[in-house]
């Protein structure tokens, strides 16, 4: 049924630009993996190398125990959902979905039954006779998924399949894809540049930057324990405060010795990463051990409906972003613009990374 993917030392360059450099990764059978990164990070090149449309210069890709790099794309038995769906406009919905079955010489009642089952799986039962141009974006997306799963490929690859949909529909489809993954039990590799989507869908998130894998972890660990400044910066709206050099003056660190030993000692230039929703507002002068504290002045307050964003200015001019819910009682704790504010970050909510930027 589901297959594992083992990638070793994969490299690909276009002239001086390294799209992939020495990428190695193990994807266990049946997992939902999202490849997340900015454009040019190599995530699409990696996906297309698995599909067979990009040809790496070095390395190996094995599905189960079979090396696939020398196989033509049509021999790889991998379903691909493309960004623009790539549905064939000269065929009906049914003909599109039946196309991979036709190529596999599956005919008659069996073909009809499998097309029907695929349509049911994406909740498009009864749309078989439609033409592609009669479908909405969301419906096309479902048909593209149906076409990629109907021949029961061992692996399904998706290249930003939801990026053309509006936000609400995209969130609905994310939940449906997750359910589809659970019912199919296939290995899915999913490329996206949308961090929320990556966290929502995945068993494991793979963050890529400049052709390399920088971290591979569960969504929760990626968010709460980013290993580098890049990951902390790319996922979430983080505040960065240096715990070294001149910047330390603004921070009142009342953290435990265990925290210092574990996170701060042994780092050249420790950098504190603060998630905006983890900051607390505390009374002036409050100094209980176990937290970082900063004093600031309330700046702009942005009301977003479900959230309120507060910008606070530190004495050295740096802006810190904090985020609150909009319950009446929560809103009442936010002082008005221009007032002093003391913020606390509990050490268990604190993230420290190495500041690798000059």
């Amino acid at each position: 049924m589901a297959s594992s993917i083992t990638i070793r030392g994969l490299s690909k360059s276009y002239g001086a630009f390294a799209a992939l450099s020495d990428v190695s990764i193990d994807i266990p059978a049946g997992q939902f993996i999202t490849l997340l990164g900015p454009s040019g990070s190599g995530k699409t090149t990696l996906l297309m190398s698995i599909a067979g449309f990009s040809h790496p210069d070095r390395g190996s890709i094995r599905i189960d125990d079979q090396e696939i790099l020398d196989l033509e794309p049509n021999k790889r038995d991998i379903g691909v959902v493309f960004q623009n769906y790539a549905l064939f406009p000269h065929m009906s919905v049914e003909e599109n979905i039946a196309y991979p079955l036709k190529l596999r010489k599956i005919a008659g009642a069996q073909r009809d039954a499998r097309v029907k089952r695929a349509l049911q799986a994406v909740q498009m039962d009864g749309y078989g006779a439609r033409r592609i141009h009669e479908l909405s974006g969301g419906q096309r997306q479902r048909i593209a998924v149906a076409r990629a799963i109907v021949f029961e490929p061992r692996i399904i690859l998706m290249d930003e399949p939801l990026s053309a949909l509006d936000k609400k529909l995209r969130e609905e489809m994310q939940i449906e894809l997750k359910h589809l993954h659970q019912s199919l039990g296939r290995t899915i590799v999913y490329v996206t540049h949308d961090q929320k989507e990556a966290l929502t869908l995945a068993d494991q998130v793979v963050v890529m930057d400049r052709g390399r894998i920088v971290q591979k972890d569960s969504p929760r660990d990626i968010y709460e324990q980013p290993k580098t400044r890049f990951v902390a910066d790319f996922i979430g709206n983080s505040n960065f405060l240096p715990l070294h050099g001149a910047g330390t003056g603004t921070i009142d660190a009342q953290v435990s010795d265990a925290f210092r030993r574990q996170h701060m000692q042994g780092r050249q230039r420790p950098l504190l990463v603060i998630r905006p929703e983890k900051l607390e507002i505390v009374p002036a002068g409050f100094r209980e051990p176990g937290s970082f504290y900063v004093d600031a002045t309330v700046g702009e307050i942005l009301f977003q409906g479900d959230l309120v964003i507060v910008f606070a200015r530190l004495p050295n001019g740096q802006m810190v972003r904090l985020q609150r819910g909009t319950r009446r009682t929560t809103l009442a704790t936010i002082p008005p613009e221009g007032s002093p504010i003391r913020l606390a970050l509990h050490e268990e909510d604190a993230i420290v990374v190495e500041d690798d930027r000059p």
Binding site: P73, N74, R76, N84, F88, L103, R147, F151
Partner: protein, 290 residues
């Protein structure tokens, strides 16, 4: 809310054809002029074809049906046009496919190679072919020296020579529209077919070619219609062994001053062209038309 509700209404309005406001009427003048210049002479010719010695008569059309030479001219013209278009399509599709698959820089250079002969005078190119194709021409000399043939091939002054020359002249008319049609095909279409299990040949025949069909039809139609009315190349390269409708029209006018007979031929030619146009419109499915 107001703007959301207003948008569909505005769209519906935009789709309706608005009557031209009087202050814009001067802009229609060129269109009117072109229509007059194109349509009036043609109408005049069409009327002429139904008159003989000042009285209404179908004699010009009857002659075409009775005189066997007209039938052979018509079949020659159609055969030549079909043959040339067929070869142009067979050569043009793979050529254009190769060009489309190149990176933009290379594609531009390759298109320029197609365009440069296209910009060269028709007459020059036809004479060039006469030089190449004649009994003691370049091609015959080479083939003889290489020992491929032991007698010179008869290529100039013949149907085959005319075909060769016309294929060369028609190719750009086919390649350019096809290129723009193929450019618009999403490259992911072929990739999708490949990932679903199609060999590259199957993906080409089953997916790429059907999607390119409107461009193929447009290019083939253009080439065929131009062939039907072609004069210079068959006249020069045919060496009197090929007679097309347009050559007959020329003869009727200059040698016999038979305006009525020429006009009737012109009408037949136009009807043929319109029939081809309608046939291709009908053959290309609506959903694939650009």
């Amino acid at each position: 809310m107001g703007t959301v509700a207003a948008r569909p209404a505005a769209l519906a309005e935009a789709r309706q054809v608005q009557p031209l406001k009087p202050r814009y009427w001067p802009f229609a003048l060129p269109a009117v002029l072109v229509t007059l210049v194109v349509l009036l002479p043609f109408l005049w010719l069409a009327i002429l074809s139904f008159f003989e010695a000042g009285a209404f008569s179908l004699v010009h059309y009857e002659r075409m049906l009775e005189n066997a030479s007209y039938a052979s001219i018509l079949s020659d013209t159609l055969l030549l046009s079909l043959l040339v278009t067929g070869i142009v399509v067979a050569l043009g599709i793979p050529t254009t496919y190769v060009i489309v698959r190149q990176p933009p820089m290379v594609a531009t250079i390759m298109l320029a190679c197609v365009a440069i002969p296209f910009w060269t005078s028709l007459l020059v190119r036809t004479y060039a072919w006469m030089v190449l194709l004649q009994r003691k021409g370049l091609i015959n000399t080479w083939l003889l020296e290489l020992g491929v043939i032991d007698r010179p091939l008869r290529m100039a002054n013949s149907f085959s020579g005319t075909t060769i020359g016309m294929v060369h002249i028609m190719l750009p008319f086919f390649i350019f529209p096809l290129y723009s049609a193929m450019r618009q095909i999403d490259p992911d279409m072929v990739k999708a077919a490949r990932s679903l299990g199609a060999s590259s040949a199957r993906a080409f025949w089953g997916i790429f070619l059907p999607l390119a069909m409107p461009g193929i039809m447009a290019g083939a139609l253009l080439s065929f219609v131009l062939c039907l009315g072609f004069y210079v190349t068959p006249q020069l390269l045919g060496g009197g062994n090929v007679t097309t409708i347009s050559m007959k029209i020329q003869q009727n006018v200059t040698m016999y001053s038979e305006w009525g007979a020429s006009s009737a031929l012109g009408v037949v030619l136009l009807v043929l062209v319109l029939a081809c146009f309608l046939a291709t419109q009908w053959m290309v499915p609506r959903r694939l038309r650009s």
